[in-house]
């Protein structure tokens, strides 16, 4: 069976589960994320101009 490598870098790191992986490619959820990232970036830009 494929298993994690113990006592290696990879043995101490969180990795995404099936649901998170699904969401990363789920077009509906990603459209919402797209709007969210753009909103975050817009706020960032507005706050950064002086």
């Amino acid at each position: 069976m494929k298993h994690i490598e113990q006592y290696q870098q990879s043995g101490y790191t969180p990795v995404p589960g099936k649901f998170v992986l699904f969401l990363r490619n789920c077009v509906v959820w990603q459209i919402i994320q797209f709007a969210w990232i753009n909103l975050k970036m817009t706020i960032l830009i507005v706050k950064s101009h002086h």
Partner: protein, 491 residues
Amino acid sequence: MARLVIMGGGVSGHTAASFAKKWLGKEHEVVVVTPNSLWNWIPSNIFVGVGEMTKEDVTFPLAPVYEKAGIDYRQAKAVSIHPEGNAENDKEYITIEYTGQGKEGQIETLEYDYLINATGPKLNFDATPGLGDGKGQLGKHTVSVCTADHAIHASLELKAIAEKMKAGEKKRFLIGTGHGMCTCQGAAFEYIFNVDHFLKQEGVRDKATITYISNEYELGDFGVGGMHIKAGGYVTSGKVFAESLYVERGLRWIKRAHINKVEADKVHYETLDGSMHEEPYDFAMLIPPFTGVGIKAYAKDGSDMTDVLFAPNGMMKVDADYESGARGFENWSPKDWPSTLQNPTYNNIFAVGIAFAPPHFISKPMQSPNGTAINPTPPRTGMPSAMMGKAVANSICDMIKGVADKPTHTANMSEMGAACVASTGKGLLNGSAVSMTMYPVIPDYDKYEYGRDLNGTFGTIGLAGHWVKLLLHYGFIWKAKLKPGWTLIPE
């Protein structure tokens, strides 16, 4: 009529020139001195480096854009600044050496009323023996994605190695920083994911060992001392986020490393604990350290006064607190960072983007027991660089128009955010990206518990980031071409 001369037509200089011309109109002159005939959207060189984009996709000729905008374009490099004129004439000027326009090699002088230094970095490959060719250019052992031409070379090498892997050979890939004092880890971070993706597409990922090598203390430092984000109900260090991305893709990493020698098939490196190591490779993309481009400055009597205008690393002095570095990491403050980007000695000279000299690092300075400095230098990424270009153009326009006699706009990295989208894949549905924003770039521990605003600092992974990256690519090239509505696209 006043003349504004801008040295460097990259991200910050081109932004400054475009806005200055728009605001000054025909009454005043805007001159851009830059050695390349093509403008390059540098972030997309990553995709050229894996063969997903061509040089034409990421560059365009500057001459027609500047002609249409009424900007005087000199395809030349700035060689020296004479801020007091010379023995015969008090008027300040720069000397330039043409690299194109049929005047290659010719030297000219160019008088200015206001001067912006936006010359970006010198890619200092020769800082690491074997990384450079000994003449200031990329050496023969490794590849780079810092210019579009370097990226084409990288993609050809990558394709050639993939062919060998298809014939059954196993190969080792090494991607990261080529010196203990590099910045721009973000570019290596994005490239390693693209190489992983490319090898998967070619069906040979199982024959590759891919290693990231970095001068960062921990992954996710990026020269900004790392960052914290809110995720899954926790406030988490960016280290966890970055390591997770590497593990998910089966990439290993070496951190706290200073590469001190590059050979044809291996690098030699020292780590922060003082131990020496070797790492073999078949394909390596190593980012060089950056310095200033080496412009000189001369006083009226012709004596060298480069050290008045420039810091020892060749970057230009501005209104930063250069004494603050010596006060030690614990005493550094956001106030150390420049706001107006005006030179303290000559108030008609400004520096923006990578060309300005930072007061000190952002990450904690570190040294190995052998005295080798191993820590990232401060990044000045695209978004802050462009914002600095616009703010300085705004100040200079106000000064030219008599609205004020000192700068009216500021662009302080302690009050500015940055965004980074590291994307892989092509097309709308075949891609993924890590999107990160941080606010502010310079952490402020008096104001924020984690140094930054956790609402403005976040990271997410997925297809949406890939769309954002595509939007940025096409949006910024549209803006840089000064096409209709360009001012509506934010920096």
